[in-house]
Amino acid sequence: MLSLEDVRLGIGDFTLTLDAEVPEGQRVAVLGTSGSGKSTLLSLLAGFVVPDRGHVRWQGKDITGLPPAERPMSILFQDGNLFPHLTVAQNVGLALRTDLRLDDKESRRVAATLDRVGLGGMGGRRPADLSGGQQGRAALARLLLQDRPVALLDEPFAALDPALRNDMAGLLEALCREHGLTLFLATHDLRDAERLCDRVWLLQEGCVVLDRPVAGLREAVPEALSDWM
């Protein structure tokens, strides 16, 4: 269980307030327009910013002030996920050892994970030689290898064309199930939410104004979601 207890974070005029519980393995779509606080919410969960008030707990343990690297969270951004001067395998290997001194067993794990995301044999390439979709998969491979129970994805599909989007969403869903990941997916596309998630938060000006299961969403609250359909 991930609990957000009376969390409040102010940045300038903007204030994010949260009070919610998310069971392990649940997949939450965070919907909202730009500026509604989606990225700030993920930054807060990832530990890049510390709330002014309230607590974040994971399985009962307070993780509010924990540095990003010690949290049960891994994060992917829309882009900028890969280091251009490292190979794909090295980028993925960072999940295991940041100094990249991988032993044979670890190297095999990297290769296997690359296979799993459909990048088998591409470990030696540089990010610049990959397509946008392939870059996304490489970043996903690293996220899997980090082996942290909560995945934070900040609009990971925004730069992809519709076909690739479907592919990635399918892969991501399968991986979440395989690894039992708790997922926060920031997006402004309702279809991503429907494809991948089982719960929806609608953010407006830093507040969750709607919190309900994905199933039957369109029928239940058509007026609130009209912007996303």
Binding site: A46, G80, P84, D99, Q146
Partner: protein
């Protein structure tokens, strides 16, 4: 806009090389180089290489510390630390001597402690002065690169648990690979044409640079052929350095992001903090004490300066502003052209010519070109503005081209997709991303023009002296106190101009 850039780059090359050709044509016969000239070439290479190397090495920890620390007065410190670069050389040297000289604070302290004295004169002193003058530039170039690191990538590193060593390897090393060749080259070029530093601190004729040999050829021998030949040697040395640097720059770009480094910095710890404190304090003391000495010596004379000095100051401000406008007008199209396609990096090398050509040769050449057509005297200020703009151009391009490339790769594509063209595309998609390097470059150009003695000496007429020239006149008439006051005025004005433009460039930046 891009085509304009190509044409402008060609014009810059012409404006720089034209005078050299003019001098060569005015010569009565081909010039010849003697053994003393070759010794000068060797010495020039040695001191410029050492100066560039030490400036950049010292800049690495300072830039790193300034990139990852936030403290009260940081911005002010960054701005003030830039001052030595924009000081007229003679002022900077006098400031250094107040600290490191025979009667300086350092030796006074040593004496008080019963230790021996140190001498600043010789190769060591030349390198020290060049590091003093160019460390600020090296720091700024590196800091600029640090600030262009995408914040997503910083956050990723934080999330992955990067250590200090990992940060070096995955952030600093690529940054250095991308920035060092250019930074080394530009400082090498500045030091290769250095004249007064080498002569004042060199200690004697051993420390003869090519620029001094050119000066000598013009002034005492009036051997235009030899001057042109030496000028050409200087250009070739600098061109070789430029090409070498160009070969070293490859695929080192760090991408683009939110222009805002993440907090907290990954891998931070007590050791890193200690190193940063040491670097910032060390650099501040080294760069600011001489400025303080200048201030202390000159401040008292400031209110009583003759009215001619104030008039000259006003004139200098006007020239600096004109020169800055000209620099920006040239730099923007050239940067966009250079960023607009592969294999156009050479454009930057071409414009870098303008610091590799001896100001004496350019001044004399322009004079030879203009004199048969018009009376050069009324043109003194415009020509000074033009030459100052040319000199500032490589610096602003150095900051602008990488940013333009990033903007093209990012927003540029989007703009193309939206069918934006021409001015709209530039204004909406590209310029916002260039504001910071543009502000920095414009500030540099303004300050540079402010402090530069330039070619005006050759064209000067009584009513049109600039502030640096007025300062030299005061020094030349025993009025050392007033000259020190003028030096303070010059330093403050140059800093204020730089500060105004640089701040203007970051109005929307979040610190």
């Amino acid at each position: 806009m891009e085509r304009t850039g190509a044409v402008l780059a060609a014009l810059v090359a012409l404006a720089v090389l034209g005078p050299l050709v003019a001098v060569a044509f005015a010569a009565e016969g081909p010039g010849r180089l003697g053994p003393a000239d070759f010794a000068a070439i060797r010495f020039t290479l040695l001191q410029a290489a050492l100066s560039a190397l030490f400036s950049v090495l010292a800049a690495i920890p300072v830039a790193r510390a300034l990139a990852r620390r936030r403290f009260a007065g940081r911005r002010l410190l960054v701005a003030v630390m830039g001052a030595p670069f924009i000081l007229p050389v003679i002022v900077a040297v006098l400031g250094l001597l107040a600290i490191f000289g025979r009667a300086g604070w350092l030796n006074a302290a040593f004496e008080a402690l019963g230790m021996g004295t140190v001498s600043i004169y010789g190769l060591g002193g030349i390198v020290l002065a060049h590091v003093f003058l160019n460390l600020p530039l090296a720091v700024r170039l590196l800091l600029q690169a640090w600030l262009s690191v995408p914040s997503e990538r910083m956050r990723l590193a934080a999330s992955l648990g990067f250590s200090d060593g990992d940060m070096r390897r995955h952030f600093e090393r690529p940054i250095l690979c991308a920035v060092l060749p250019g930074a080394l080259t530009i400082i090498f070029l500045i030091c290769a044409t250095s004249f007064a530093v080498a002569l004042i601190l060199g200690g004697g004729p051993r420390a003869t640079t090519v620029e001094l040999a050119i000066y000598q050829a013009f002034r005492f021998d009036f051997d235009l052929g030899r001057a042109a030949l030496l000028g050409l040697v200087q250009v070739l040395i600098c061109l070789a350095a430029g090409l070498l640097a160009l070969g070293l720059v490859r695929g080192g770009e760090m991408g683009f992001g939110l222009d805002r480094p993440a907090r907290p910095w990954p891998g931070d710890g007590p050791v890193a903090r200690g190193l940063d404190v040491l670097s910032i304090v060390g650099a501040s003391v080294f760069l600011l004490l001489p400025l303080l000495a200048i201030l202390l010596e000159g401040l008292a004379a400031l209110p009583g300066l003759p009215s001619q000095v104030w008039e000259a100051a006003l004139r200098s401000i006007v020239v600096a502003l004109g020169s800055t406008a000209l620099t920006v007008a040239m730099a923007l199209p050239i940067a966009l052209f250079a960023a607009g396609g592969r294999g156009r990096g050479g454009v930057e090398a071409v414009t870098a010519l303008s610091i590799s050509v001896s100001p004496l040769v350019v001044g004399t050449g322009l004079f030879l070109i203009l004199f048969p057509i018009v009376d050069p005297v009324p043109l003194a200020l415009p020509v000074t503005g033009l030459v100052n703009a040319l000199v500032a151009l490589p610096f602003i391009l150095r900051a602008l081209i990488p940013a333009a490339r990033a903007a093209e790769a990012g927003q540029g594509r989007l703009a193309d997709a939206l069918g934006m063209t021409g001015w709209t595309r530039l204004r909406l998609a590209i310029l916002p991303r260039l504001r910071r390097p543009l502000g920095f470059g414009a500030g540099l150009a303004a300050a540079f023009s402010m402090g530069d003695l330039g070619v005006i000496a050759l064209f000067s007429s009584p009513g049109e002296a600039t502030l640096p020239m007025e300062m030299y006149r005061l020094m030349g008439s025993y009025r050392t106190d007033d000259a020190e006051g003028a030096a303070v005025l010059l330093m403050l004005l140059a800093l204020a101009l730089f500060w105004a433009f640089d701040r203007g460039g970051r109005v929307d930046a979040v610190a």
